[in-house]
């Protein structure tokens, strides 16, 4: 078995483990739902006993729920709630990550260069960085509620890349023989990893803010607010999620700014001009401007909240589009997808 075959084997093992992690995290969310419902039932019973209002929550209930969720988010690892399935999911994700790392390293050794020189390898390394950043952030914030989303996304992206983008190792073409391949592409992948987490948080934020609107509308009335995703009640408030998404997005944005500059320096060495509105350059620019818009939106009256979250989602959609459709189908100087 060649080293590259080993890499592929490790990769599929990683995908299988991530799938299990996804299942564990999903069960975790379902169990949180049960918890949330049980808590609500208990409260309802209490309310009924004391003959205060019936089904719904009061604003004070909502606020205390939010405070508890925020404290849980920021709790140190040793003080976190011991959700069995969330822990299982985390352990599986770590395990999957080790196999993923192994797949990436063996691919690099097999190729005798950095493993990010064509679409297959970009996907391999980029998704690995998403997991790495996610696991790294877990030390600071309890983001395990994102686990199902993140591992699910990675299984789809990585599985898709392994099926659609796999190419055997071939030597680099001349324009790629540059130190900037190592720097520019790696930083772009790292930026994408942070933007991916911002994207995930923005989506949860949108779900959460919808639930909050309903809950507040229903507060104090008889009607219990109806949500299809009760686990949202155990998650931080939309505002907290937004702040967190923003923090990931600005790190991603700075890295992307660096990517843009490094790419221009490389283009100046390879093609004799630092900027030429080549398709790939156009998309890098579009993404940069979208995120600049997102950062502005966060500071503009009437745009913070749901609207800016949509910009974060659109921004990351553009990142994915750039990586898949643009790399593969758009004509330009950057024809490095390796897909012929």
């Amino acid at each position: 078995m060649s080293l590259d075959d080993l890499s592929v084997l490790l990769l599929w093992t990683a995908i299988a483990i991530y799938t299990l992690a996804f299942l564990a995290f999903s069960v975790d969310l379902a169990r949180r739902s049960e918890l949330a419902i049980a808590a609500q039932d208990a409260k309802t019973r209490e309310h009924a006993k004391t003959l205060v209002a019936s089904g719904g929550q009061t604003i004070a209930d909502i606020r205390s729920e939010e405070a508890a969720a925020k404290a849980a988010l920021e709790a140190r690892p040793s003080q976190r709630a011991r959700f069995l399935f969330a822990r299982l999911g985390t352990v599986l994700t770590v395990l999957g990550f080790l196999f993923h790392l192994g797949a990436d390293v063996t691919r690099g050794i097999a190729a005798g260069r950095v493993p990010w020189s064509n679409n297959y390898e970009f996907a391999l390394t980029g998704t690995m960085l998403v997991i790495a950043v996610f696991l790294g952030v877990l030390f600071k914030y309890d983001l395990r509620f994102l686990g199902a989303f993140v591992t699910g996304l990675i299984v789809v992206l990585l599985g898709g890349a392994a099926l659609a983008y796999y190419v055997e190792v071939v030597p680099l073409s001349d324009p790629l023989k540059s130190i900037w391949l190592v720097i520019h592409v790696f930083v772009a992948s790292l930026a994408s990893a942070f933007l991916a987490l911002a994207f995930a948080l923005s989506i949860v934020q949108l779900l959460q803010s919808r639930r909050e609107r309903l809950a507040i509308a229903a507060a104090g009335t008889d009607a219990a607010p109806r949500t299809r995703l009760p686990f949202l009640r155990t998650l931080p408030s939309a505002e907290v999620l937004e702040g967190l998404a923003y923090r990931f997005a600005i790190i991603g944005f700075i890295l992307w700014t660096f990517t843009l500059i490094a790419g221009a320096i490389w283009a100046n060495d390879a093609w004799g001009r630092y900027w030429g509105f080549d398709t790939k350059e156009v998309w890098t620019f579009v993404i940069w401007v979208l995120y600049a818009g997102y950062i502005h939106a966060r500071a503009t009256r009437g745009w913070r909240g749901t609207r800016s979250a949509w910009l974060s989602i659109v921004g990351f959609t553009a990142v994915l589009f750039n990586f898949t459709i643009v790399n593969q189908f758009f004509k330009g100087l950057h024809s490095y997808s390796g897909l012929g």
Partner: protein, 585 residues
């Protein structure tokens, strides 16, 4: 958030457009109101709209959207051949797209309007903020708010006055300690005293606003460098065959040359010369992964400034050489078969190495030979000849019988020609590409439907031209001592772009500014001591200016450290450690 301040020498926070989240209600009230007033007011209203956050945001989003068509439709600047192809496949849509400037998106009226408006907005935004920030940098931290307990991030403790001290003295002592502590945390501090209560007001993180201004200012710098630098930029292309040279001068060397507006083409070009000694390339052998792929391109050249000795140098992809401030890039390579044509009398009428344009990795290449003079027909009339040919470095026959090249290297070189006789259309002075032949007004005498087979030659071979017009020879260069039978050529691109350095400088400034603008927290802190009856109430409060996830932690830490410095051991009331979450499983 911001409080009215009576002091003239305090400046309340950074200046923001009126629809920024942090501007106060009175700022917002001055936002859109239908202007019923005079022209000047109307202008002022328009200006405020243009420099608002909302406008900047909308323009940014428009810019992102407007940039996209340029990646879908080929652009004249980047891909002129793509535009011609597009025109050929969509003849009906072409005029519509062209009228919409979709082939020149980035210089189009609509794209330019967006970014020019954006930059006007940017300048209108940055200038007043810079002035304001300049004042803020030299102002005192603002007065301590009357009721600190109303701020979100707040803590307090009551301390007993030690024996032998009075409450006012102990309060002053507490504030001394707080002031020293805040100073060591790099806060700018100011003491205030109102009705017996002493307080220290502190502010830090002015660098955040500085960074923001540097970032936005640097963007203007980038745009100016691109715009002005473009005027001093020149780029040119040239083709050099092995053994030949190039002189950096307009008349002599360039196949194309694009000078910026301010370039003096007479005097700005230093007449250095470059000779291509040898072009190296490696091909991955058949049977290996990536077989046929070429790489490790290296143009071995001799360069020379007038009156100096020649120097050897190598130009590679990603490694241009620099001559007199010009950067010289290796852009492409191909084969230049040497062809000799003799007329019926045996006189040489053409003898050149003709660069053929390659297509694809196997280097099937196309080229053209034009013979304007020296050929006469058997009837004694003079005739011009045009030959359109293919060169196959490794000729192979497809099942259909057509020729192709199987490999990029010279394993089985073959040259084929169609021949046309008649008027080349070059006598009237219209410029014609050396790579294209326009056969209108000519008669095809070999190849295709002409009834005569196309000419086929291997290196060293000579064949007859049709109709007794003469002979054509494909010279074998090894006969002249060369290593390979066919010469290679390189295409070089020569650039002089003095603006690029400035673009880079401003881009790096922008990046540094961005770091400060996004990651340096700007916050205010207050510590107030109010003497009571045998006790002193000490309050701590903090206020974030802009994103600051760590403000609560900072207030807690300040309260804790200050308590310790005062000799108080019990934690301040709000600063209690956070409750651990209970185990659920």
């Amino acid at each position: 958030m911001s409080r009215p301040s009576s002091d003239n020498d305090t400046v309340d926070g950074p200046l923001r457009p009126s629809d920024h989240l942090e501007t106060t209600a009175d700022g917002a009230a001055s936002a859109p109101v239908a202007p019923k007033l005079g022209f000047v007011e109307w202008l002022r209203w328009g200006w405020r709209q243009l420099t608002s956050m909302r406008t900047a945001l909308v323009l940014l989003l428009l810019l992102a959207i407007a940039a996209i068509p340029g990646s879908l439709v080929p652009q004249r600047s980047a891909d002129p051949n793509g535009v011609s192809q597009w025109r050929a496949t969509n003849p009906d849509l072409y005029p519509v797209f062209d009228a919409l400037q979709l082939f020149d998106v980035y210089t189009s009226v609509w794209f330019s309007s967006i970014y020019i408006l954006l930059f006007i907005s940017l300048i209108g935004c940055v200038l007043p903020r810079t002035k304001h920030h300049w004042k803020a940098l030299r102002a005192r931290p603002p007065r301590t708010p009357a009721r600190l307990s109303r701020l979100d991030d707040h803590a307090e403790r009551t301390v007993a006055v030690p024996d032998g001290e009075d409450a006012a003295g102990h309060a002053a002592h507490a504030i001394d300690l707080a002031e020293a502590q805040l100073k060591s945390l790099r806060y700018r501090v100011e003491r205030y005293e109102v009705g017996g209560a002493v307080s220290v007001s502190a502010e830090r993180g002015y660098v955040r606003e500085t960074g923001n201004l540097v970032f936005h200012g640097a963007l203007i710098g980038v745009l100016l460098s691109v715009g002005i630098g473009g005027g001093f930029t020149y780029t040119g292309q040239t083709v050099i065959t092995e053994g030949d040279g190039f002189v950096n001068s307009l008349g002599l060397g360039y196949t194309s040359f694009n000078p910026g507006r301010f370039v003096d083409t007479e005097n700005d070009l230093v007449p250095y010369s470059i000779t291509l000694d040898e072009f190296d390339v490696t091909y991955l052998e058949p049977g290996t992964q990536g077989a046929g792929q070429s790489g490790d391109f290296a143009a071995h050249v001799s360069t020379r400034f007038p009156g100096e000795d020649a120097q050897s140098d190598v130009i590679r992809v990603n490694h241009p050489i620099t001559m007199a401030g010009d950067r010289i890039y290796l852009m492409g390579n191909g084969y230049a078969p040497t062809i000799t044509i003799r007329n019926a009398d045996g006189d040489v009428v053409f003898n050149e190495s003709v660069p053929f344009l390659p297509d694809g990795a196997t280097m099937t290449s196309q080229g053209v030979v034009k013979v304007p003079d020296g050929i006469t027909t058997t009837d004694g009339e003079s005739e011009q000849l045009g030959l359109a040919g293919f060169f196959y470095p490794t000729a192979a026959t497809l099942e259909s019988g057509a020729l192709t090249s199987a490999y990029g290297d010279l394993a089985n070189p073959l040259l084929t020609f169609w021949v046309y006789a008649g008027d080349l259309g070059i006598d009237d002075g219209t410029p014609r590409s050396v790579y294209a032949l326009d056969p209108t007004g000519m008669e095809q005498i070999a190849g295709n439907d002409s009834g005569v087979d196309s000419l086929e030659l291997a290196p060293g071979e000579t064949v007859d031209l049709p109709d007794g017009l003469g002979t054509i020879t494909f010279e074998d260069e090894t006969a002249n001592g060369a290593a390979e039978s066919v010469k290679r050529y390189v295409s070089l691109s020569i650039h002089n772009d003095s603006g690029a350095t400035w673009v880079l400088v401003f881009a790096i400034l922008a990046l540094l500014g961005l770091f400060a603008a996004l990651f340096v927290p700007r916050r205010r802190m207050w510590v107030k001591a109010t003497p009571g009856d045998g006790t002193v109430l000490i309050e701590y409060a903090g206020l974030a200016r802009g994103e600051d996830p760590a403000i609560a932690i900072a207030v807690d830490a300040l309260a804790r450290d200050h308590g310790a410095a005062l000799g108080e051991l019990e934690p301040a009331s709000d600063a209690a450690p956070r409750q651990a979450t209970p185990n659920v499983d």
